[in-house]
Symmetry: C2
């Protein structure tokens, strides 16, 4: 009989957000009149920028005429979008990249999951904990995470981030091959300083490790001293792959577009000891198993970089960051220990009275009809924390804070 | 140092269509005034159906208002599209499927490549030869194809399709686990009868094998006795995954949408001997490594199934099939042995005078300024054949046939 990939059977029963959705569905069925407000899954709520809408209408119209019709595009994206990315996201920060180092995709989730295809199964992994579940789950699926022992994967080094170390993970004292970093961080909303990021780059260069740098939330950085790209650090092109997404930058969660940077300088080692450029392997992976992102979507993404697009996108980010400020102030005022929300759309707080994450989740759902994300769903160091997102309507955010005030009495 | 996936290094130097593109680029640079006509890569040229255009404009407009804005969609597609698929592609053929058996994606290439993620590395593979390169290349990348020996992969059984057996591959006389079938066939343009397909299903059920059935070209079937879906054969739900694409059905090569059917009845075996539903594994794979297809795209795909959409899409298919007829007649008239083109947009012909595929490719490019696809690029049994596609403008097709008449004298 055909055999399954047994690694899949090692995965925990269900993906975090699916588990939450099931709980919420059950609550709504039992309480059909309750007005549930979601501060849980990180989905945006505000309309697309008018510049993006206009560009997509134009692209749709191009598909009506043989002269302007577009069929298969280049697997790794149209030059017009690659050029806009280089000119706007990198050049102003002193980073030089070429078109063939930019791989346009259908969102960061695909590439952060698929990137493991090009790396050997016997590499070890290092993650900050708590963490976005896809990094580990995709490694479990490929067999690279090892076996689960007391809730932890045997080939994964977990670097705890918590209130005690001010969410600054230790740099490992041992060699690891693949390091996942996400800054501004999902789920904690915390950031990394240039100095600390330089220490990670120095570690990776010393051990010939590769950093998978998820910069999906860089557009939310308000503090000018915080790096937007790992390539702002000297030497990072030799040790890092960087993932960007328009999902949160420009409300593209339903439109699906992002990009991955794989610098030409980045190398890993083959079984025969020779060094191999990862850019070429990723290009081969994408041209074999991906057929490019929708032309219409790529024109929409290009419009984000126009003067009007930039202004409109910034206004939406400001709107969400106003939510974050309201939430921070309310929760801090209640005496809770609150993190994030200053350079990121996520608020991370310690549950009161030593409650577990899921206990607090249930309390918020049942007593305040609020959906949050239990911190423990992001890893063991998330236990006792809750993640809230700032992506809601402002009125909902205000209403949610009023409800929280009623149920939390410290 | 971080290790690469060495399986990637076993791949042949470059993907077929990339190799062709490089040759064409060099020719155009050397002959800037030549009017090159491509009958090579299978990309469509006709505009999208007006119903699709209208639906996509409407969907773009929905993104301008918080009340109608759509963020993350379900990873495996919106119910409106799944319902349209079930009602139109399956129910009229007597096939019952449920929504959770339909996985909407960004095109068949992604899923035919990624499907191997959920299966064990030690399964054996069977392909018809010649074949669409992605099936084998994606298995090489995961290590499942084995080692290359005299141009063939050690864990792959090749079932030759050629003029001698009328492009009807033998059913293997030994057990194989994963079987790739594509009908109407890319590259040969030939089809499979219901009786022959039933024999493959019987083989798969007997050996507990899984058939990966690529139905990307089913919309081109003209002969009513030819099956559009493998599920028209009794028992196929227990042994087959089916891939559909809107790329050729509705000109979506630049829009990116298709779907995969993984029936609930389909099972494979775990290391402990238990049977596992593949539907659940694929759902987990997709919810971890994919974030759904663009909402705008899915609304466009839904419109294909409206009465106007169906009529418009059929008109375009008729247009391409008129090209196919012209090509068949011309080439047959020249005394060439011609296959396909009756229920498929591909024409497959034997090169004259025993030329190799690449020799004929060079002759057509240099003497007639025509781009074709060398049959050998699809596998060893494709040597001595050429693939032409019917996706061009009709005038280009006529012009191309005039040019071919001049260079082929048998």
């Amino acid at each position: 009989m055909t055999k399954v990939n047994d690694n899949f059977l090692k995965l925990q029963k269900s993906y975090l957000f699916v588990a939450i959705a099931q709980k919420v569905k059950a609550f709504k069925e039992a309480n059909p009149s309750a007005k549930v407000i979601s501060l849980g899954i990180g989905d945006v709520t505000q309309p697309l920028a008018p510049a993006v809408i206009e560009a997509m209408h134009k692209a749709v119209d191009e598909m009506t005429d043989t002269k302007t019709f577009r069929g298969y595009g280049p697997e790794h994206g149209y030059a017009f979008l690659q050029d806009a990315i280089i000119a706007n996201d990198f050049k102003p920060r002193g980073i030089e990249l070429t078109r063939d180092e930019i791989f346009v995709n259908d969102g960061a989730k695909s590439d952060t999951g698929n990137i493991g295809d090009i790396l050997g199964k016997d590499n070890t992994i290092c993650v900050t904990d708590p963490i976005y579940p896809v990094y580990i789950d995709s490694n479990v699926m490929s067999g690279r995470a090892g076996e689960i022992v007391n809730g932890l994967w045997s080939n994964v080094s977990y670097m705890p981030c918590n209130a005690e170390n001010n969410f600054t993970p230790e740099i490992p004292d041992h060699k690891t091959d693949i390091i996942y970093l996400c800054y501004p961080n999902n789920p904690t909303g915390t950031v990394i300083t240039r100095e600390r990021l330089a220490e990670w780059v120095e570690y990776a260069l010393r051990h010939n490790s590769i950093i998978m740098y998820d910069a999906a939330y860089e557009a939310y950085i308000q503090d000018e001293t915080i790096p937007h790209s790992i390539y702002e650090i000297e030497g990072a092109k030799k040790c890092a792959i960087e993932f960007h997404s328009y999902s949160k930058t420009a409300g593209f969660t339903g439109v699906r577009c992002g990009y991955t940077v794989v610098p030409k300088e980045l190398k890993a080692i083959a079984a025969d000891g020779s060094e191999v450029e990862l850019n070429g392997l990723w290009e081969r992976r994408q041209s074999t198993k991906f057929n490019g992102t929708s032309y219409i979507t790529q024109r929409g993404a290009e419009a984000i970089y126009t003067p009007e697009g930039k202004k409109q996108v910034k206004a939406t980010i400001d709107y969400y960051m106003a939510n974050a400020k309201t939430m921070r102030q309310t929760l801090t005022g209640l005496g809770l220990k609150v993190f994030g929300g200053e350079n990121a759309p996520y608020i991370w707080f310690k549950t009161p009275g030593g409650m577990s994450s899921w206990e607090m989740f249930d309390k918020m759902l049942n007593e305040a009809h609020l959906v949050c994300t239990p911190g423990v769903g992001f890893g063991p160091s998330g236990e006792g924390y809750i993640r809230l997102t700032a992506f809601g309507q402002h009125e909902d955010c205000l209403e949610a804070m009023e409800r929280i005030k009623k149920i939390i009495k410290l």
